[in-house]
């Protein structure tokens, strides 16, 4: 008699009566929904930091590009390459050429101290000395205001991210480099990559200011295709005159992001887990209230022939519905409050600040909703079991 369709219609009707009764116990319902929304906001909010950081580093790397560092160096900071090294690297097979000249950009990397706009405290800001090829090996480079670098001059252009985070980094501002102050002549964007966290100047000028002679720290090489990487790498690593390591640019940045992203995600999960614990109790409380307020109603329905399993399913469903409401609310809040929020943090691999925007991605929102659903199911389970186990006649006696 009671087929699956019949069972489903029982579940739907009992759930409907529960949901229709919400206005009568709005206080406890609102508390539970807000609790779950809070968990999701915090979870999605914190994870969006990690996602934003990872994305900033991911878009920095192109599979077409290779980074060449001195062998044993994990980052540009501790690397060093001579002019001869640079020439050998540039002439290696697989490097793309533009009108005969190789697309290989030797670059210098130093760190300067600048006060942040927000707190006024000094922070490490990366400064890159570049040559013309730097603009050819990067996609999406664009001067947003002011003008491009002029070669041989003591002047800088500044990434849009760094410009927003640090004092004095606007067109017409000045940057202290050693004993000198260099004017900022332009602001650039670079497709959201880490270059936007940097200050750029002419490599030769920077070499002179830092007494670096004719040395560099990395070569960013654009390959003819991603498939040419292995040959390019083998050529350089087997050349007895070179002592270098070669990594794909996207691997290089991905590795830089893992430590920080892991830290942020672990932190986010821990905080969210603690809050979720509280939210489960909130949901439990709400659903216990729901089934105790509706005790006689549920007993009556069961007396009429509604099944115990339909009661369990409908209490769980009600809890799930409330939790999903909380999840959507929390996801929306996180999106409104955090998505695109700009900040900077220490990149521990380069010991300098990376500026980036929080990324509330669809994956994170989905993750938040899944958490909400789990909290709802957990919070509904015990009240549902209680509601189904209470003896019908005992529930009908209670007034």
């Amino acid at each position: 008699m009671a087929g699956p369709i019949n069972w489903l219609s029982q579940v739907i009707s009992i759930t409907k009566f529960g949901l229709l009764g919400i206005p009568g116990r709005i206080g406890s319902v609102a508390a539970a929904v807000c609790g779950i929304a809070g968990v999701v906001t915090v979870l999605v909010g914190v994870l969006s930091i990690g996602a934003g950081f990872r994305r900033a580093l991911e878009v920095s790397g192109s599979p077409d590009n290779a980074v060449v560092l001195r062998s044993g160096a994990d980052s540009e900071m501790v690397s060093g390459l001579s002019r001869e090294d640079v020439n050998l690297i540039s002439e290696a097979p697989g490097v793309r050429r533009d009108n005969g000249s190789p697309l290989a950009s030797p670059e210098l990397f130093v760190i300067i101290n600048l006060p942040t706009r927000a707190t006024g405290m000094d922070a490490n800001v990366p400064m890159r000395g570049v040559e013309k090829a730097a603009f050819q090996v990067r996609d999406h480079f664009k001067i947003e205001s002011g003008r491009a670098l002029e070669w041989g001059k003591n002047e800088v252009i500044v990434g849009a991210g760094a410009s927003g985070q640090f004092a004095g980094l606007h067109v017409g501002g000045k940057v202290p480099v050693g004993r000198f102050e260099w004017p900022v002549v332009g602001i650039f964007s670079a497709g959201g990559s880490t270059a936007e966290s940097e200050i750029w100047t002419d490599a030769r000028v920077l070499q002179a200011a830092y007494d670096r002679g004719d040395s560099y720290q990395s070569v960013q090489a654009r390959l003819e295709s991603p498939a040419k990487f292995q040959a390019f790498k083998d050529e350089l690593t087997t050349n007895p005159r070179l002592n270098v390591k070669v990594v794909r640019q996207n691997d290089y940045y991905a590795e830089q992001s893992t430590a920080v992203t892991k830290l942020i995600n672990t932190l986010g999960f821990l905080v969210a887990l603690l809050m979720a614990f509280g939210a489960v109790f909130g949901a439990l409380n709400t659903m216990y209230t729901s089934v105790s307020v509706r005790k006689r109603e549920i007993a009556t329905l069961r007396a009429l022939g509604f099944g115990a399993s339909a009661v369990i399913a409908s209490v769980m469903l009600e809890s799930l519905a409330l939790a999903l409401g909380g999840g959507l609310l929390g996801g929306g809040l996180a999106y409104g409050a955090f998505n695109g929020f700009h900040t900077s943090t220490m990149n521990w691999q380069s010991f300098s600040q990376v500026t980036f925007a929080f990324q509330v991605t669809p994956e994170l929102l989905t993750q938040g909703i899944v958490w909400a659903a789990l909290i709802g199911l957990l919070g509904g389970l015990f009240p549902a079991l209680r509601a189904s186990r209470v003896s019908i006649s005992a529930a009908l006696r209670d007034l």
Partner: protein, 233 residues
């Protein structure tokens, strides 16, 4: 009913009911026997706490006896699983409660429709049955009203419409007039009597009120766990 005395619908056979409250055992029904022929309107009386509701719940398959058998229409209830017992209730029993037990968020007609949700009737068929049941209790005009906007007597009539909408074998009423004044109570009793006389419904009604039991075709008295045909002095 011509064969009212020959066909036994309710057969309570040597039933014992023991409740446990902590370490204490409460013996409510002791070796109780009751036969109700089809078509009878039986009133069940007795002092408060004597076990009237307990007996009614056993007959309605809401509880299972500690010992003894309950057979309805020849079907022994102890053989049914909880699940099948619920299905059996849906088909064979109409409950009428003292406090009506309507779902507050549903209109009168949606309340009456509830038991039909457990059947395979289509929406249109359900609507027809609901309209007929509401008409029978004289509440066609109040179909869209919510319980809180109805008087106690009207709510109980909705309760009766809900109990009869599936055309059950047996109507079980636990103090159906217990919360109503004399006039509203009389209307409910008129209705039950009409259902019994005109439609041949078998009814068992628990009541404290001799005025109510006077409407029944037979009255039995429960005392100290046993039934008697005369009240104990």
């Amino acid at each position: 009913m011509s064969n009212a005395n020959s066909e036994i619908l309710v057969d309570v056979d040597g039933v014992e009911m023991v409740f446990r409250r902590g370490a204490e055992e409460i013996h409510v029904l002791k070796d109780l026997h009751l036969k109700v022929p089809k078509g009878e309107f039986l009133a069940l009386m007795g002092p408060s706490g004597s076990g009237k509701s307990t007996l009614l719940n056993l007959i309605g398959g809401l509880d299972r006896p500690t010992r003894g058998k309950v057979r309805i229409g020849g079907e022994p209830l102890e053989g049914l699983s909880d699940r099948r017992l619920a299905d059996w209730r849906a088909r064979h029993i109409g409950f009428v409660f003292q406090l009506y037990n309507l779902v507050p968020v549903l209109s009168a007609e949606r309340n009456v429709e509830l038991p039909l949700l457990l059947t395979h009737l289509t929406k249109a068929q359900r609507q027809k049955h609901v309209a007929a049941a509401l008409n029978m209790v004289g509440l066609s005009q109040r179909a869209r009203h919510f319980p809180r906007t109805l008087s106690g007597g009207e709510q109980q009539r909705v309760g009766i419409a809900r109990a009869i909408v599936t055309d059950p074998t047996l109507l079980l009423c636990d103090e159906p007039t217990g919360d109503l004044d004399r006039k509203a109570g009389d209307e409910i009793l008129d209705l039950l009597q009409a259902l019994n006389r005109e439609q041949g419904k078998t009814i068992i009604m628990v009541t404290h009120d001799p005025h109510a039991s006077a409407r029944a075709s037979r009255t039995v008295y429960l005392n100290k766990g046993q039934l008697a045909s005369e009240p104990l002095q």
